[in-house]
């Protein structure tokens, strides 16, 4: 039976680090990439006798995240202990929320090939990060020893558990991208998969088309990029289909994705699964939130992607493609709006961002926040264009220079002598030179082949090194040729 005859069922558990300055239960810094064990204290090291104190900012961020994901926010929630032994877990339990999470029952919308998809969110809960094991060898099994870095231990996380609502690996990837976008908009997580501040585990199962009872699922771990999420699930769907086709059963187990080999491998079976022995965390009091507190945080949320998209379509009248592309990246949308502060024509700005701006960014593999061009300067460049100081062609040259150096457009134009020629007599002189040097096209034009005009305008531009005002070049060339008729 081909894969098309199965329904793929996917649910994701996504972990996102919250962007608090300090850890969830102590005042150690959360910054990334510092010397091992330089951001630890007796509390996050779990020394005997220490007690956790909840970071209020983390609660705030979790409520914001839940609100952005359209969740119900609990007035009463609490922490539980998830018990397991691992060297990177200093207390041998993770403080998490099991029974009563802070957020429940939300949903996320996105488009898959132009079709709207809604995925339910079962819950969003807070928990703490573990540390990081560094093995002396290539893998844990052939290492002589391992070292532990606890800088990450205790950084606040939210776990976002979806309903099993996704029906293709592509949907899963787009769901992840949508989550990242929403959390970035809500300004609660930087969601960098490469730094591990956004991670996901996936549950996937197959059932024959038309069936209603889910098949046996496997859980896939270790997918470290959006692409990997899709690839791993595509592989796993095929693997399960082949098993089922051969009359075999899918085993309920946890599997790990090997990105370089492009396969999933069994990690542990259901029987080997941990019994986490959850129980209420006695060292922390429950979290009690008033309706007012929750509402204030909801009100403080910035405009979220869906709302922004609708505004771009309806108010700014951007084409759907542009509007979707810009809103899909919060940094790009922020940049776009920053330019609009200084230059009102949204379509001009959007065209430019979709064109030259993204071209250079993609060419150089940059992120939006690494771009040197200030929004104000880009707006100034548009104004120069409008005033006829530079042509649209020159603008590209100017922009390239701005992109490289971060200089403002006036400086670039001055430095490179790129001011557009708009002086009538200067243009007339160039036109005369062009007519003189192109007798054949000129006679063709005079014989009625008006299409040749474009070529001759091009010659004017070339002769002027692109600096001639194109409208004037057109106008005066036509005038001069008509005189020859």
């Amino acid at each position: 039976m081909p894969l098309e005859d199965y329904t793929i069922v996917i649910g994701l558990e996504v972990h996102a680090e919250l962007m608090t300055k300090t850890k969830l239960f102590c005042s150690c810094s959360t910054s990334f990439g510092n010397e091992a064990n330089s951001q630890v204290c007796p509390i996050c090291l779990g020394l005997p006798g220490t007690l956790p104190v909840l970071n209020e900012k983390a609660v705030e961020f979790a409520v914001k995240a839940g609100s952005a994901l359209n969740c119900e926010i609990a007035n009463f929630s609490k922490f539980d202990r998830k018990n397991y032994f691992y060297p990177d877990l200093t207390k041998a339990y993770q403080i998490s929320q099991y029974e009563m999470p802070i957020c429940r029952y939300g949903q996320v919308e996105f488009f898959v090939n132009g079709v709207k998809k809604v995925v339910g969110i079962n819950r969003v809960h807070m928990e703490e990060e573990a540390g990081k094991s560094v093995h002396s060898g290539a893998t844990i099994t052939d290492s002589e020893f391992s070292l532990e870095d606890y800088n990450r231990c205790g950084i606040p996380l939210i776990e976002i558990v979806s309903e099993p609502d996704m029906r293709s690996p592509e949907e899963a990837r787009i769901y992840m991208e949508t989550l990242r976008n929403i959390l970035r908009y809500a300004n609660v997580s930087d969601c960098k998969m490469e730094e591990g501040s956004l991670r996901c585990d996936a549950n996937i199962s197959l059932m024959p088309k038309g069936a209603t009872k889910f098949g046996t699922r496997s859980e896939i771990k270790n997918m470290n990029s959006f692409k990997a999420v899709q690839k791993a699930l595509e592989y796993e769907a095929l693997r399960q289909a082949e098993l089922l086709d051969a009359g075999k059963k899918v085993v309920q187990e946890t599997r790990t994705w090997d990105d370089s080999a492009g396969i999933t491998m069994s990690m542990r079976s259901k029987e080997e699964a941990h019994d986490y022995r959850y129980f209420p965390e006695p060292d922390l009091v429950p979290i009690v939130l008033t309706d007012e507190y929750i509402q204030n945080l909801k009100d403080s949320l910035p405009e979220l992607p869906v709302a922004k998209l609708n505004r771009y379509l309806n108010e700014l009248e951007l084409p759907p493609y542009d509007a979707e592309l810009i809103t899909a990246n919060k940094d790009l949308a922020d940049y776009f709006e920053a330019v609009l502060e200084y230059y009102k024509d949204a379509k001009v700005v959007s065209n430019w961002l979709m064109g030259e701006f993204m071209r250079l960014i993609n060419e150089q593999g940059l992120e939006i926040d690494q771009v040197k061009v200030k929004p104000k300067d880009l707006a100034a460049m548009f104004t120069l264009q409008d005033k006829g100081v530079i042509s649209s062609k020159i603008a590209k040259t100017v922009f390239e220079d701005m992109f490289k150096t971060g200089k403002d457009p006036d400086a670039v134009v001055k430095e490179k002598g790129l001011v557009q020629i708009s002086d009538v007599s200067e243009i007339e002189n160039i036109v005369q030179d062009v007519i003189k040097n192109n007798p054949a096209p000129v006679s063709q034009y005079l014989e009625g082949k008006e299409k040749v005009l474009g070529f001759l305008v091009g010659q004017v531009m070339k002769f002027s090194h692109g600096k001639a005002n194109p409208q004037m070049a057109n106008e005066y060339l036509k005038k001069a040729l008509d005189k020859l008729k």
Binding site: P42, L45, G46, L47, P48, G49, T50, L51, P52, V53, L54, R81, N83, F85, Y86, P87, T90, K91, A92, Y93, S146, E148, D275, R277, Y278, F279, P282, D283, L284, V285
Partner: protein, 486 residues
């Protein structure tokens, strides 16, 4: 002048009047400790040199008039409270070399007050036991009879105060670990309302039950020391943000009309006749002072011990999991990967009673058993709280025996865990309900062994509880302290 015979408040008066110095007090105690320690084994670690230095600093404070009530008065600390760079072992092989890089909140308070710390006292391993017999460093002896246990788990602190090795000591009480040894050694031991004293730096046994409290020779010292220990701590979010009381000021008020509850369930089967007689005599004394005696029922108290041993062991199994040999504490040489390191380090580092309780707690929390054990125990806990809420509508305090019998002999119960657990039968209810309770001497048996009477009060009613104890102490007189040959 025998300084070691004075109460802490008496010493304070003498210091205040400049008749003595803190150094003299500490020197007197050092002499006593050195003489008796080989017999008693009250301490795991002695910090006598540091205590002398701190005594000199305290004398400076007194001279500079920056002193407070306990400035210059030495204290002994149960070895499960973290002391900066001083070994904190919980009487376990697991932590025998553990030197915390921080002070518990109560230790910080003690240091700020200028109290010299004489040492860290012996206890049952990780506070699990009722006799100090589970200590990795050997048991402490009861100063009244060296063949008998001092009780536990804070047995070292109790023995030190009873033997005049320290005027004051701190203990911790999870199911009776202050009150039971106080009863067995004839001193005053107080477990405050849950949340009154910060737990930050107390190595947890069962987080929802643990409280730190004072051991003293009399009720006034107990009230004064509680004044110093109590208070909200931002480092412990389970500590209570209530306004401060002055417990010492509460003493000496008339108790005429005070309603004293006598729970029938605490005077039944298993209670030693001599203990019963002494406790009833104490109750008569309160009646003579004008108290009104009311018989009450605490029907669910019979289930308390079972609920207690489920909740306490469940929490302990999680609290003690961090002792895995990775970062500190005992690490086994016998290891080939992280899992064998965990297993062997824990197998070698913990004693049999700790292992038994970790296994009990792990079992109680396991998938498939959680509802039947842990969850049910939590429900019983609520019922016990309800019992007390109902009782305290009728009475102001409740008076019971602290323990069913007096100090037992070494080896008598250590091989029979259930018999040992029954020593806590009257004490665990207060921990489960989170309410304050204290034990004070009610008399001596014919064999000259101390008998303890327990006073239980509603949450945050320590003032009433202490005043009742103070009145009783005056009415029945003290039993004195044991005469030990030095």
């Amino acid at each position: 002048m025998e300084l070691i015979n004075k109460s802490a408040l008496e010493l304070h008066d003498l210091l205040d009047k400049k008749e003595i110095t803190s150094r003299e007090i500490v020197e007197a105690y050092i002499k006593r400790i050195e003489a008796l320690e080989p017999k008693l084994n009250s301490f795991v670690t002695l910090t006598l040199e540091q205590a002398l230095e701190d005594a000199d600093k305290a004398d400076e404070m007194i001279k500079n008039k920056t002193s407070t009530t306990f400035t210059g008065i030495p204290i002994a600390i149960k070895d499960n409270m973290c002391t900066y760079h001083v070994k904190t072992t919980c009487s376990s092989k697991m932590l025998q070399d553990f030197k915390p890089p921080y002070d518990a909140t109560v230790i910080a308070k003690i240091k700020k007050a200028g109290m010299p710390i004489l040492g860290k006292t012996n206890m049952d391993e990780f506070a699990m036991g009722s006799s100090t017999e589970t200590s990795f460093f050997g048991p402490s002896k009861n100063p009244w009879d060296l063949e008998r246990v001092p009780g536990g788990s804070s047995g070292g602190s109790a023995a030190a105060v009873a033997a005049k090795q320290a005027p004051l000591a701190l203990g911790s009480d999870t199911g009776g670990s202050i009150r039971q040894p106080a009863a067995l050694t004839g001193v005053v031991g107080l477990k405050p309302t849950y949340g009154l004293v910060s737990r930050y730096g107390l190595i947890a046994f069962a987080s929802s039950l643990d409280q730190i409290g004072p051991f003293t020779r009399d009720v006034a010292d107990s009230a004064a020391l509680l004044n110093m220990l109590a208070g909200y701590d931002p480092k412990d979010t389970t500590s209570l943000p209530n306004k401060r009381s002055d417990y010492l000021q509460a003493l000496g008020k008339e108790i005429r009309g005070l309603r004293v509850g006598l729970p029938r369930e605490f005077f039944g089967e298993g209670l030693d006749k001599e203990v019963e007689k002494a406790v009833l005599k104490a109750i008569d004394a309160l009646a003579t002072e004008g108290a009104q005696i009311v018989e009450i029922d605490l029907p669910y108290s019979k289930k308390a011990l079972a609920a207690y041993y489920l909740i306490a062991t469940a929490e302990a199994s999680s609290n003690l999991a961090r002792l895995d040999g990775v970062r500190y504490g005992h690490r086994s040489e016998n290891q080939k990967d992280s899992v064998t390191m965990f297993k062997h380090s824990r197998a070698e580092g913990f004693g049999p009673e700790v292992k038994r309780r970790i296994m009990l707690g792990t079992y109680a929390l396991s998938a498939g058993f959680y509802d039947a054990y842990y969850l049910k125990a939590l429900k019983v806990r609520t019922l016990i709280k309800n019992d007390f809420d109902a009782a305290f509508k009728k009475v102001d305090v409740i008076v019971t025996p602290t323990t069913p019998s007096v100090a037992f002999k070494f080896g008598e119960k250590v091989l029979d865990p259930l018999a040992m657990y029954l020593s806590d039968v009257y004490t665990t209810t207060a921990n489960l309900a989170g309410i304050p309770a204290m034990s004070m001497p009610a008399g001596l048996t014919k064999e000259k062994l101390p008998i303890g009477v327990q006073i239980i009060a509603p949450a945050l009613a320590e003032e009433i509880m202490l005043n009742t104890a103070y009145t009783l102490e005056k009415a029945i007189g003290t039993i004195g302290l044991p005469t030990l040959e030095v």
